[in-house]
Subunit: 560 residues, 2 copies
């Protein structure tokens, strides 16, 4: 597909747009750098070509009534075969599209979604909701087993509008298929922003965020999509659900919670009323270096428990700081930032820096925007809105560049023959030290087993909470051609086992999908799974919605 309004075209096998992939010479340079670092011979493969893919025939033809919204198009079926995890890109880049959706649907509205689900229910075809397709946990893969006659990928791209803006309450009704940039583009004329910036922002949608409880870029407070959802619209096979707009309610259990993180197994989220923010004008940021991990962690905890609530509070280990160009590699680097549409935030930063200095942190750089002077009634809306997610100090800019470009780099690493994985968790402060040590040790053992130690492991903190923290790990290993998926599984299993047995959650913001389904059953109480399956039997009696994700296959078909 052409990406609307640009000359860009989505990659059918890898991240984002084809034009933004690393050019072959850059991939070549990456291979030699990496090969040197890993002491391995990295051979670059060329990307797959659409015309070379062997694609099985669709098992079903679009019925006349749905012909306008269903396609057998080769590109679309490939694009909708996978999310964008390492496993996905590894398989896709090798031309393995052995389990494509039979058809891809592009409903135009909620009525179309309802008609599609009726059709799928009546024939027991699996219906797999698809937003941006950026899942890294097998959330959109049509791996539904043989009991379904067909698998239909339901792409909500045509539901991309901000339908209504309530500037008084600062809220908007947004269709579920809207991508991050499109949402911001439609809100900008109102001086408003959703201010939800997951790493996948450019290639993920509101519906996907809701279905997976996505985590935004910001470190504290409103960052998970849950916090932004005022009301929801869902089309289930049993009928439609619309919850009401309330700023808060004491009526429980909260209906929205049933669908936040439902991963498409209860129906298709078609839209939501979202809480918005005015665009920030005031910013204050700093980069702080720490020689010791203990001091850095103590600082982060002090800041997290201070109620200062920075927008950014991201600790990078020395290797990540160096990779991101934020430091030279000897220090842990803490990037901290505050922002406001209402008031200067320099006092907030000043107190945070006191906490840093209390723990021997060295301030490397410090900047602010939107200083006092412009204060007063006419002030609002006058300032030039700064870029959405952007920090802005040099180290922070370098970091952001590396953050957004990360997935493209990962795909290039795949073409170089590397095995890559990013995994993450959240854990209470009291358990962090033990969990972190266990994860590092287990992952290094996994690297040893999978690649004779030819690899590296880096980490950072992505989100901080008063009661805990979310660490995020990146591992890259030398692959053995043809064994990459087994190598990946060895590392993934070692890391996940260390997380789960040390009090971490299986996911802070990558979701469950199919890849984490067996793991989540170790943290979700069995009676909660049973209650959820019972709710599913009501909403999706034929169990056609994204079967195999989130809940055990068959869960929902009969009483647990």
């Amino acid at each position: 597909v052409e990406v609307e309004g640009t000359d860009r075209r989505r990659s059918f096998w890898g991240w984002g747009n084809e034009q933004d992939h690393l050019p072959p010479p850059a991939v070549g340079r990456l291979a030699s750098t990496l090969g040197e670092r890993l002491g391995a011979d990295m051979r670059v493969r060329r990307p797959p070509r659409l015309e070379e893919i062997e694609l099985r025939r669709s098992r079903v033809s679009p019925p006349a009534a749905l012909d306008a919204i269903l396609t057998e198009d080769r590109f679309e079926r490939c694009l909708h075969s996978y999310g964008r995890s390492f496993r996905d890109v590894q398989r896709a880049s090798r031309g393995d599209f052995s389990r494509p959706p039979d058809l891809v649907a592009f409903p135009r509205d909620a009525d179309d979604v309802a008609r599609l689900l009726d059709w799928c229910s009546s024939l027991r075809f699996a219906a797999i909701p698809f937003g941006g397709g950026s899942s890294v946990v097998g959330g959109v893969e049509p791996d539904v087993g043989d009991s379904y006659g067909a698998a239909i990928s339901v792409d909500l791209a045509r539901l991309g509008a901000v339908e209504e803006v309530d500037t008084v309450s600062r809220a908007a009704l947004v269709q579920a298929g809207a991508f991050g940039p499109a949402i911001e583009d439609q809100l900008r004329p109102h001086g408003l922003t959703l201010r939800h910036f997951p790493q996948s922002f450019e290639f993920s949608t509101l519906g996907g965020w809701i279905a997976t409880r996505s985590g935004g870029h910001f470190a504290t407070r409103e960052t998970r999509i849950d916090d932004f959802v005022e009301a929801l619209s869902v089309v289930t096979p049993a009928g439609r659900i619309e919850t009401n707009r309330y700023p808060s309610t004491g009526a429980g259990p909260a209906a929205e919670s049933l669908f936040l993180g439902s991963e498409g197994v209860l129906g298709v989220v078609t839209g939501a009323w979202l809480r918005l923010h005015e665009r920030p004008i005031f910013r204050a940021r700093a980069t702080i270096g720490f020689a010791q991990l203990e001091a850095a962690m103590a600082t982060v905890r002090a800041i997290a428990q201070s109620a200062l609530e920075p927008a950014n509070c991201r600790l990078l280990d020395p290797a990540e700081a160096q990779t991101a160009g934020a430091a030279e590699g000897s220090q842990f680097v803490l990037m901290i930032g505050f922002e406001s549409s209402d008031h200067p935030v320099v006092p907030w930063l000043a107190r945070a820096l006191e906490l840093c200095r209390d723990h021997e942190g060295q301030v490397v750089e410090q900047t602010s925007e939107g200083e006092p002077g412009g204060r007063g009634r006419g002030r609002r809306g006058r300032g030039e809105p700064a870029r959405g997610a952007g920090p802005g100090a040099p180290a922070a800019d370098a970091w952001r560049q590396s953050f957004v470009g990360g997935p493209y780099l990962r795909d290039a690493l795949v073409l170089c023959g590397a095995v890559c994985e990013t995994f993450e968790t959240a854990v209470t402060w009291d358990r962090f030290e033990k969990l972190h040590a266990a994860v590092l040790a287990a992952t290094r053992d996994g690297l040893e087993d999978a690649a004779h130690g030819a690899g590296f492991l880096t980490w950072r903190l992505t989100h901080v909470y008063p009661d805990g923290v979310a660490p995020y790990y990146t591992v890259v290993a030398a692959g053995r051609a043809g064994s990459e998926l087994e190598q990946w599984a060895t590392i993934k299993e070692a890391a996940t086992e260390a997380i789960l047995s040390n009090g971490g959650t299986v996911t802070h913001h990558h979701a469950i999908g199919r890849d984490h389904r067996a793991y989540v059953e170790r943290e979700r109480p069995p009676l909660v799974s049973a209650a959820l399956s019972a709710a599913r039997r009501v909403l999706d009696p034929a169990t056609i919605c994204n079967p195999g994700a989130l809940l055990r296959p068959g869960a929902g078909k009969e009483p647990a």
Copy 2:
């Protein structure tokens, strides 16, 4: 029962402790003041006496195995017959205890709860979880219909301990039967506070808060109990559920959400890990007067949308301000306050006052505590922790006194023959003006119908959100002896109809219980009710848990 460690005794018919009820001369003075104001003849009744109550015999005797935790005691059966709504106190004060629980259980631990639920399930006896018994919506009343052989009130008072404190993550494991003051008393030695202060604080429990999604005293941010719950323990008839401690997780749907607001219909919450705060040291507060409602509302909205997040942001209408002694009755009064355990909050208040002045607000008083100077590393824990919920400026103190004493005053009004009701909602900003006008008009019409206009209506804002606000209304009318419940129903119906038809929720923090059950079905999507009922069938197959609350009687017995 004697209240532990004091000479106080709980009132079996009214709010709180008997000793704290208004003494008869004060009730007499209240009656004449009120009679004068309403132009009515208010005759004071004397409170009921326990020995005069006609109490039907229990339909069941405690089995030997549960004898240690079940009682037929007269006082306990009366105390557990009602919550503390106007309807409850009206009936109780007239000696009507026609539907008491057959037995009252005092389980000592979760095992006892499990054995009780087993026993109730096997005989189809209703089990009604009871915390502090402060429900104002019929949440604990054993009005379960004739299909149950008996009704057992399950009082968690013996589960009152803070079992574990994690000072690193600032969290504690607390048993569900712990009352507000007991929780704070047990946390104080650790320098920590839960900082959750619903009006019922002294006479309500953690389990009750969780079951009803209680709202705390604070105006913004962490104020609803939902925000404090890190993990939950629940005993259901089908077995136990324990969720894990995570600061956050992307695994959905959130298990805790199923039980927050479940009002006892899915089982008995027995404990929770709670997120805590350090005790505040720094405070800054002000009282601001506004001549016009529009300007006051514009200010409140500006503050709510500023992300300054005051602890207190309470607007009183002129009548409430006067009643509470916070002003002389010609102005709307805004009480605003900030607090922190980490940093001086004067800059926060200064910006809020700018917003007030932008809208012609007049600062009446302004105070602060814990000024800079005590700054630095050794500072924490040194300051004398100030009182829990307390603002502290004179107007705010007057208000707080009136807030905490409110329920005692209400009971005295009942003895004077008045009809009283407090009702509340939450609504998005764009709909507030219309809703508020409709509620005032409908309630005045209701007052006209019910009491020929002999009554008054006051209101305040209790909580503010970026996208809306929670108004709270108080109505007092002259009763006609014997017709008070019909008069109440007339007013309640008029007000609730105005709320629901103007975009307000049936409850911001009073919950659903039995009184709001029919109303909530107008805002809860039918498929959500069906999904919830299906979850209930899994967790409570015999439908013994608090039948009639939250869900339609019979919901959960068969597929919806």
